[in-house]
């Protein structure tokens, strides 16, 4: 029987109960939120389970939501079961003061650089990463540029009304 989002959701709920929240299916992709403390357990379960077999890490990235105190940073995983052709998105929210999630490098070699990139741009600390350094930016950089507090242009400019061009000011 073909694997469906319904089955994946039931298998995960069976295993992790109500620790997984925020179930939705935007544009057909099953999405859920997991606590940052068990992110690796969930990924490992998805990898090992004979029925689920999510063994391909498609993408790993971060999102910054300055308006959500206590869960400002979001780490987004896209995993893929290539045999059944099912994709899934997993999110882990972490606070800005302690942005710790467990590294998935032991599970997927591909996670190495993707986690370095997420660290580089958002400052997410991947616990257990073998070599967590900046990757695309210079090593001396002191801030995390993809966070929303860094505007694209000089905020002191007065000759240009930002509201008319793209996203005005700080989100």
């Amino acid at each position: 029987m073909a694997l469906t989002n319904e089955i994946v959701k039931n298998r995960l709920t069976e295993q992790f109960g109500d620790q997984l929240t925020g179930w939705e299916e935007p544009y057909g992709m099953l999405t859920c939120t997991m606590p940052a403390g068990i992110n690796l357990k969930v990924l490992q379960f998805l990898f090992d389970d004979e029925q689920l077999r999510f063994r391909f890490l498609t993408d790993l990235t971060g999102v910054h939501y300055p308006g959500r105190p206590g869960e400002e940073l979001c780490v987004v995983y896209h995993v893929h079961n290539m045999v059944d052709g099912v994709r899934m998105r997993l999110k882990a929210y972490v606070p800005l003061e302690k942005p710790d999630v467990f590294s998935a490098t032991q599970l997927y070699s591909a996670a190495n650089w993707m986690e370095r990139e997420t660290y580089d741009f958002f400052g997410v600390n991947f616990v257990g990463h073998p070599d967590l350094r900046r990757i695309l930016n210079v090593d001396e950089m002191e801030h995390f540029p993809m966070r929303k507090e860094f505007p694209m242009e000089d905020p002191t400019r007065t000759d240009k009304d930002d509201e008319m061009f793209g996203r005005g000011g700080i989100v």
């Binding site: 544009y27 391909f56 993408d59 999102v63 997927y108 591909a110 190495n112 242009e153 793209g166 996203r167």
Partner: protein
């Protein structure tokens, strides 16, 4: 007179050790792009490689957060600049999916046609550069004339060659001209002979085979774990192709084969790309035929080059902008990024020339994306490079790099 102290001083540690440290790159003629590898070599044998990336990082994801959707298309050009139209179309399809737009068949076939032409040009560069790195320049200069013809086709369609900014949300900016069709037909007629000759030159060439077979191999399990996609994954023996696995833009209407290799070495990657060129050519032919059939059945279809319901997202013709009120309003609203895009979260991927090019877009309903992330296949599979060349010869490392087809623009975003 001051004593000069500009000569290179080797540290004691460096003198004492038996191996040599070699800086391959960042600007080395054999790396075809800005890649830095610090190799530790023992004679000719590579012991380890340390990679540095990010030399041409341009912060596209940050820039995209301040740009209206149509202004992001030129950013996607500059990811994999050897096959820019595929990236353009992938981006348009992402927004179309977000908006729920359905395109007419003719437009989808036109997109397929263009995407397959760019796949051919990308694979041609990759394979001929592998040949150059083994010491044979002839094939490279020979096929470049045909890559040039593909670029002329782009030029007829969108006006530019390398960074194309081709197409719009909902279709194309203008219809294919007669000259474009003539050039497409010229390509379909002339290219097979050239490709045949290119294959005759290398595929069973003793020197080429000796250089390529067994160089830079990777097995299927490691390739999957490293997030390989595209021809490099298929060369390792996994028949994963998004055009078949999750068909987009009516790929399900086309008949083509997915070639696979066995051990994922340079020769396998070369062969897989060659077969893909033939398959792409067959898809181009099918697309031309299908478009002709549509036009034959209904001549009015000849003028359809964008989805009729997409007029809110599609720039009106220039002459209308100057003469008609509505057209002027739409034009203004589009330029100012006032187009309503629903809030949503979407991941859309297309089969790029060297793997799965993905767009992860979070829209909050504003005029720019809240967050846009590009899944760049090169960035993900390039990490496997040290593992692939470990224990091999230095010259194998060079051809392994070119056969992986790592494009610096895509690597560093």
């Amino acid at each position: 007179m001051s004593e000069h102290n500009q000569h290179i001083q080797l540290s004691d540690e460096s003198v004492a050790k038996q191996t040599t440290t070699l800086n391959l790159g960042p600007t080395h003629p054999a790396t075809h792009g800005v890649f830095e590898n610090i190799l530790e070599i023992d004679g000719e044998k590579v012991l380890s490689a340390k990679q540095t990336v990010g030399y041409i990082h341009r912060a596209f994801e940050k820039i995209a957060e301040r740009r209206p959707y149509y202004q992001i298309t030129p950013l996607t050009d500059r990811l994999n600049y050897c096959s820019a139209p595929i990236n353009n179309m992938g981006w348009h399809m992402t927004i179309e999916k977000l908006l729920g737009l359905k395109l007419p068949k003719r437009v989808e076939y036109m997109r397929v046609l263009i995407m397959e032409l760019s796949r051919i040009s990308d694979h041609l560069i990759c394979n001929s550069v592998v040949a150059v790195d083994t010491g044979a320049l002839t094939g490279f200069t020979y096929v470049f004339q045909w890559r040039e013809l593909i670029y002329e086709i782009y030029e007829e369609i969108c006006g530019s060659r390398l960074t194309t900014n081709m197409g719009r949300v909902g279709g194309f900016e203008r219809n294919f001209s007669d000259v474009a069709w003539q050039k497409i037909n010229k390509f379909i007629e002339g290219f097979p002979k050239v490709m045949k000759e290119f294959e005759d030159l290398f595929t069973r060439n003793r020197i080429f085979m000796d250089r390529c077979i067994g160089a830079g191999p990777i097995n299927a399990e490691r390739a999957l774990n490293y997030g390989f996609t595209g021809p490099n994954l298929r060369a390792a023996g996994v028949d994963y192709d998004l055009r078949v696995a999750e068909p987009y833009s009516s790929y399900e209407d086309f008949d083509f084969k997915i070639p696979t290799g066995t051990i994922g070495d340079v020769y396998d990657r070369y062969l897989v790309r060659n077969v893909e060129i033939w398959e792409s050519l067959s898809i181009v032919k099918q697309a031309v035929q299908k478009i002709a059939e549509i036009e034959k059945a209904d001549p009015a279809q000849k003028n359809i080059f964008y989805a009729p319901e997409s007029d809110k997202y599609h720039f009106p013709p220039k002459e209308d902008v100057y003469t008609k009120m509505e057209a002027l309003i739409y034009h203004f609203k589009m330029v100012m990024g006032e187009i309503a895009v629903p809030p949503g979260e979407i991941y859309h991927a297309v089969e790029g020339a060297n793997g799965e090019v993905g767009y992860y877009l979070i829209s909050d309903g504003g005029r720019t994306p809240y967050r846009l992330h590009f899944r760049r296949p090169c960035f993900i599979y390039y990490q496997a490079f040290p593992e692939m060349i470990k224990g091999g010869l230095l010259s194998d490392a060079i051809i392994a790099l070119s056969s992986l087809n790592v494009i610096a623009g895509e690597l560093d975003a």
